[in-house]
């Protein structure tokens, strides 16, 4: 698939924002239930929640940029019965005002019980939005690299890990050690990395790959009669001519080629900036705003690289008809 940058920005930014708000809401609920101790100043949590909300808003705006005909975008709220994209639009429309009120509750010291009640709503909507976003990809059967339960798992884990990093960055940027949140973020990054490794293992394993011969239905007919006494020929197919002299919408959208060296650099950036640098920063624990900003920027760049690979490595069955051996 050709990576669409507006969608990459959308999934990374809103993923982090939704993850951060979900974690803040979860802590709020825990604190109201008396399960976890409140260790953070409310003003800083309010700041973190505001940044998270803005990240989601920026992501949603970015997602509209890849529409070729945005004047009909309002219709995307109509097909929630069948379409994951429509469900995402509906849930995010409910999430944004609910989360805005929730953020306001932190700024203007609403009664903790009311705020915790709203936190339940925000938490559920944030998780549902993240899940719907991932299901847009995971529901597409022609792309085996996307059509797996590992995709929603990865989106949820990476959203929460990067969201936790945003909260830690705000706390440390104001000179707090934030050791509990840092520990949580570290744990989330480790689990997210394991999830991503498992995803890449699954993609490499070639499970459910479709071949050019399957796509053409070669098995249905051209085999020579066995009675002729010739050895069975290898019924391999190859493309002779794609029928068009230059690129088409299909080749531009689906048939991208990534040079191995370039892919390696992007992969290194995904691991280095997306996982390694934030984890080092979380472990070292410098309570400086410069470091916090740097960790967040590195993480965003790394996750953009990770999301770019998610698209670039996705091999749609249309590629078979353009001559590729397997998906």
């Amino acid at each position: 698939m050709n990576p669409a940058f507006s969608v990459l920005f959308f999934t990374v930014l809103s993923g982090a924002g939704l993850g951060a708000l979900a974690l803040i809401a979860l802590f709020d609920i825990g604190a109201a239930a008396g399960v976890v101790a409140v260790l953070m100043p409310p003003r800083l949590i309010a700041l973190a929640a505001t940044i998270a909300w803005l990240l989601v808003a920026a992501g949603l705006c970015s997602s509209a940029l890849h529409l070729a005909n945005p004047k009909n975008a309002w219709r995307a709220w109509s097909q929630w019965r069948t379409s994951w994209l429509s469900r995402e639009a509906v849930v995010s429309l409910a999430f944004m005002p609910a989360a805005a009120i929730y953020v306001a509750c932190w700024w203007w010291d609403a009664p903790p019980a009311a705020r915790a009640a709203l936190a339940v709503v925000v938490l559920l909507l944030a998780w549902t939005t993240l899940f719907c976003t991932a299901m847009i990809y995971a529901s597409l059967k022609p792309i085996r690299q996307w059509h797996t339960r590992r995709v929603p798992l990865n989106f949820l884990l990476l959203g929460h890990a990067s969201g936790a990093l945003v909260v830690v960055a705000v706390l440390r940027g104001h000179g707090l050690a934030a050791s509990h949140w840092a520990l949580l973020a570290m744990a989330l990054f480790v689990v997210a990395a394991i999830g991503k490794l498992e995803y890449w293992r699954y993609v490499r394993s070639g499970q459910r790959a479709v071949t050019l011969e399957q796509a053409l239905g070669v098995a249905h007919g051209v085999r020579p009669p066995a009675a002729a006494g010739t050895p069975p020929s290898i019924m391999a197919a190859r493309l002779l001519d794609a029928g068009h002299s230059r690129g088409t919408f299909l080749t531009r959208e689906f048939v991208n080629h990534v040079a191995a060296r370039r892919r390696m650099w992007v992969l290194a950036m995904a691991w280095g900036c997306g996982f390694l640098l934030p984890m080092i920063w979380l472990a070292v624990g410098l309570a400086l705003w410069q470091g916090a900003l740097l960790a967040c920027v590195a993480c965003a760049a790394g996750l953009l690289a990770e999301r770019w690979l998610f698209f670039a490595d996705a091999r749609h069955t249309v590629r078979l008809y353009h001559g590729e051996r397997t998906t």
């Binding site: 005909n69 051209v222 008809y321």
Partner: protein, 238 residues
């Protein structure tokens, strides 16, 4: 009703007449036309086509076969492109034809991603998704003589490799052709239940080669000349 096409891979000669006839009819159609062409006379021309013909070689020498492979929308019974459409622009009619309402499409490309066949192409000028309409503006038009109530691609095919009809009717030509020749759907394993059927190419005849057979006698210049004169005589006497 389950309207669709039968495409005979055995008789298709890959002339692209179906594709150009489709472009010609639908480019002027009110259903989804015009079909934009980008840089039609430039160095990098591209445009929206509902039907594309690709050419493949199958098998290993000497038992190889060229397969000309026209592909357009297969009008799936379980059309994922309709399911994933967030705006309700994609829909499936009662007669089985899958269409895009150009007034509702927002150009998000998700239906094109959901289609395993590449049947949908975004028109970058109008910003809307376009696809084969099965010539819905021909096949039901009672002002046309009955034999012309068929998709443009079917009418244009010079080898009768394309047939149009109702797969719900077991007596229809398409149902019977498909049953007789083992018609199959593309990528049936994805479960979209494509309606269009492809008739498989017939087996490559195996020519027995006898290494002991004597080589053909060499042709002398005189013999070649007399053959040529005979051909010329034939041609002129017609």
């Amino acid at each position: 009703m389950k309207l669709g096409l039968v495409i005979d891979l055995d008789t298709c000669v890959g002339c692209h007449a179906c594709a150009t006839a489709c472009k010609e009819w639908n480019g002027a159609s009110a259903i989804s036309g015009p079909l934009a062409d980008l840089e039609p006379y430039g160095a990098d021309p591209s445009g929206v086509w509902f039907n594309r013909v690709r050419h493949y070689e199958v098998g290993a020498f000497p038992a190889t076969k060229t397969i000309n492979f026209p592909m357009s929308c297969l009008h799936c019974e379980d059309a994922a492109c309709v399911t994933v459409c967030p705006t309700g622009a994609s829909y499936k009619r009662a007669d089985g034809i899958v269409l895009v309402d150009q007034d509702k499409c927002m150009g998000c490309n998700l239906c094109a991603w959901a289609c395993p066949y590449g049947a949908r192409e975004l028109d970058e000028v109008s910003g809307c998704m376009k696809k084969c309409t099965l010539c819905v503006d021909r096949v039901h038009d009672e002002r046309l003589p009955e034999e012309e109530r068929q998709p443009a691609c079917v009418l244009a095919c010079p080898t009768h490799a394309r047939h149009f009809g109702d797969f719900d009717d077991p007596q229809s030509k398409v149902s019977q052709l498909s049953a007789a020749r083992g018609g199959f759907g593309l990528l049936d394993e994805l479960g979209y239940k494509p309606v269009n059927r492809y008739l498989p190419p017939r087996a490559v005849p195996v020519v027995a080669m006898d290494p002991a057979a004597p080589a053909a006698a060499p042709i002398t210049p005189l013999a070649a000349l007399s053959r040529l004169m005979a051909r010329a005589r034939d041609a002129l006497s017609r």
